[in-house]
Symmetry: C3
Subunit: 348 residues, 3 copies
């Protein structure tokens, strides 16, 4: 749906430098844009691409506006404004109200008349689905699940018994919310299953990626607060609590009973232990092993960048000999101290 | 279903200190329990919470019983007893015998009359489903799969062609058992697919978590022995064999043809190489890289805990200079040896 | 379907040493083979097993042929020849042309008459499914997806809106192709979703493992070129491009906008950062953290093999003290330089 630059400027509070009647049909990167595209500059590093762009217009901030060779939508946060404009140009596919004839819906389920239930869904007893919610094809909604208004399950989402989802959430295919936590009591060298009787509560505006799993609580609930964003293939253990607006990248695992604060940013393939407390505003870099609690906002890390395999093997060899090196260092220091008796001996 | 303390004590062989007629309706943590709840103390560390609990009764061991301010169920293994009592108070949802009208079942499949096949399942040719098995909504059971008695597939489980599952197993949504192993023969800088003609055999009492994958064997079978417990998002490669009662936490990957012994405990996000032998009773801590076989029971590890990013960067810098440091150490030792010619020179 | 050694030799260009009329019914490992089995020797390390094999015949190379106690099919690449022979003996299950009565197919979808659409599939508007394609049970094919000829989706595959799949691909259960990339613009300490308007394009002969996820592009497309092989539970971020015939093992994650060249081999649980360029013919060993681009073919690594936990804890302690050790080393060098003023002081 084409829209004019003037309309975009008014709607999103941008200063327009250029012809308000120019129609925009699509978004594109600076390098691939044409006369019907709008692009954006989110990072001054790409000013060279800005100089050469063929876009009809570019969304950028005041500092970059002077370098823009085409029409400009000037605003404080070009990336966020781009996101909103892209949403206008590429609206999410609509889904008609009603329940598809092939869906299997329990009699006691309460589905708002404005909600969409797609083909081959299964909706359990006493489930409640809110206004304008979209339940895509082949979702499994078990008994007593509650889904808030305007929440969208793209397709093939599984919500296990009693899970509660807030409004305006977006869940991607293959995610499983509310499977049993991993709880077993050891006895006589075997395992006794511990029933997982808590549930999962998800706040508003939460996005959950494809094939991500969020386990139900052992006794109390697992909780994702409002605005949490989870990428694909994340594992959230039982009784975890994740604070508002925290974002977690793909392949990260959070062990049971850990609490993560608000506005944290956790990168990919991070392994977080159980029963930890991570305070608000913590950033954790990729592949970190988080083995104890974090009490101060800041950036944390434990990944070691790669080398060519031969160099790396040598480094690992040195690493494995660190105890020997430390001993040798201390021995040298002792000798030096004997040679120079007027100096104190150092100890670690 | 409420149950009296007296009934619980008799049924689970506990010593009851308190009124046998007190009715219990639910379980709760020590801190959240009320007069209708039973709680448990699994770890003496939480005795402070015990002192303040409002529970009707607490399950604990003899050593802690004297500290219990309310009724006590005294037993040797409070956590296992708790698990069994929770199972009484929160029985797994029942599923009526019979095949749902929307399931697609091959004529040659043999489904026990007491088994449940849920809505929109697909059951292939010559599949066999045992007594009281529960096949939840939308499972795909391919041709010639066998499922033992009392096994429960929660929903959306995929069992590929010919997979054999023992009795009393519990499989969570999204798990895929028996997809092809990753086998390709290199030829002319391309890959020739190696047919994966083995299958997967799973023993009794195995639990498999959400979105976990267990590949079929290349020639012979992949095997999970009885009592194995797999958490979510675990990957088990082709021809792996996992011994009885071994438990593996989420996000761990086991490469092809590795054999793991009985009663091992493998933590989360462990990466295990292929063609290894891990003996019985091995514990592996989180994020370890297991690159060679383990022949002695014990605890193994290779994760490095995080630091703040600035400290970490410096540590990585030092790590990358270890070769240089080792050279400088040796040089100092040589000089010291020259100064003290009566001592032997050290070499690494 | 039994086949004679003579037929196999002719069909696959092997030199036959033995009776061409011997019938082969199955494949087996050297150790488990019987008189109706064919086996192979891919690695001279297993010559002892060759000496004892009961197989009817063994596929091997000229150098090993002299050691073969039974009939031999001699060829240059025994593993690739084995793969082709196994494919003859164990043909993929056939699927009859036509659309299962329980599939839900949009009117505007174009499904080739020779294609198979299995039970309970959902096929969206304007989807195109090519000749002899096999869409297994419960697949979700969203609007405008295109699937090439002879491509096989085993079961429960999700292809999101507009995804394009080439011919002769093989996708395993639970994989999700084309879910939204993880894109959010920060604003006022919250996140604004960035519409993911690119798609995914997959070339010919690509295999994708169970529960692997490949995200759609943010603006342009995510691309897997011909012959790419992805194992299970891999995460491919938005706008990644993977070159032809690159193979990636399980649990690896590739962050957004990274480009990987042709013929790379990436092992399991590798974490690759975003916006990187990895050139052709790169091998990356398991658990590596790839934090910057790679411009030269070769083998790269960053995993540290495990130790027993006590030894490991000490090594980590030394690692955390590396800064202190470096300081002490420099101090010793300064003293030594003072003792030997005629030598230059070393600095790092």
């Amino acid at each position: 749906m084409p829209v004019s630059l003037g309309q975009l400027a008014v709607r999103f509070g941008c200063e327009l430098r250029g012809n308000p009647d120019t129609n925009i049909e699509r978004v594109a990167s600076l390098g691939n844009a044409d006369a019907r595209s709008i692009s954006f500059l989110g990072n001054p590093r790409y000013r060279q691409q800005l100089a050469e762009t063929q876009a009809a217009a570019v969304i950028l901030d005041a500092a970059s506006a002077a370098h823009c060779p085409v029409a400009a939508l000037v605003c404080a946060n070009p990336f966020a404004t781009y996101a909103r404009i892209a949403d206008v140009l590429y609206p999410a596919p609509t889904a008609p109200p009603g329940v598809h004839a092939t869906a299997v819906v329990a009699e006691s389920a309460r589905i708002d008349a404005s909600a969409h239930v797609g083909p081959l869904c299964v909706i359990g007893e006493r489930a409640i689905i809110g206004a304008r919610a979209v339940i895509g094809a082949q979702c499994v909604i078990q008994d007593e699940v509650q889904i808030g208004a305007d929440t969208r399950l793209v397709a093939r989402v599984t919500l296990c018994r009693g899970v509660q989802i807030g409004p305006r959430c977006l869940f991607h295919p293959g995610c499983v919310i509310g499977a049993d936590g991993f709880g077993f009591a050891p006895e006589a060298r075997k395992w006794v299953k511990v029933p997982q009787i808590g549930s999962v509560r998800v706040g508003s505006d939460v996005e959950i990626g494809a094939n991500t799993t969020v386990d139900r609580g052992a006794i109390e609930d697992t909780v994702l607060e409002e605005g949490v964003k989870l990428d694909n293939q994340i594992q959230i253990g039982h009784n975890v609590r994740i604070g508002a607006h925290t974002a977690i990248a793909a392949c990260t695992g959070i062990s049971g009973s850990t609490t993560i604060g608000a506005r944290c940013m956790i990168a990919g393939m991070v392994a977080m232990g159980g029963h930890l407390d991570i305070c608000d505003d913590v950033t954790i870099l990729g592949t970190s092993m988080i083995s104890h609690s974090i009490t101060a906002p800041g950036v944390y890390s434990s990944g070691i960048p790669f080398e060519d395999a031969r160099t790396w093997r040598r480094l690992v060899g040195h690493f494995k000999r660190l105890g020997q090196y430390a001993d040798r260092l201390k021995k040298l220091e002792r000798r030096a101290a004997e040679d120079l008796p007027e100096q104190d001996e150092e100890d670690d």
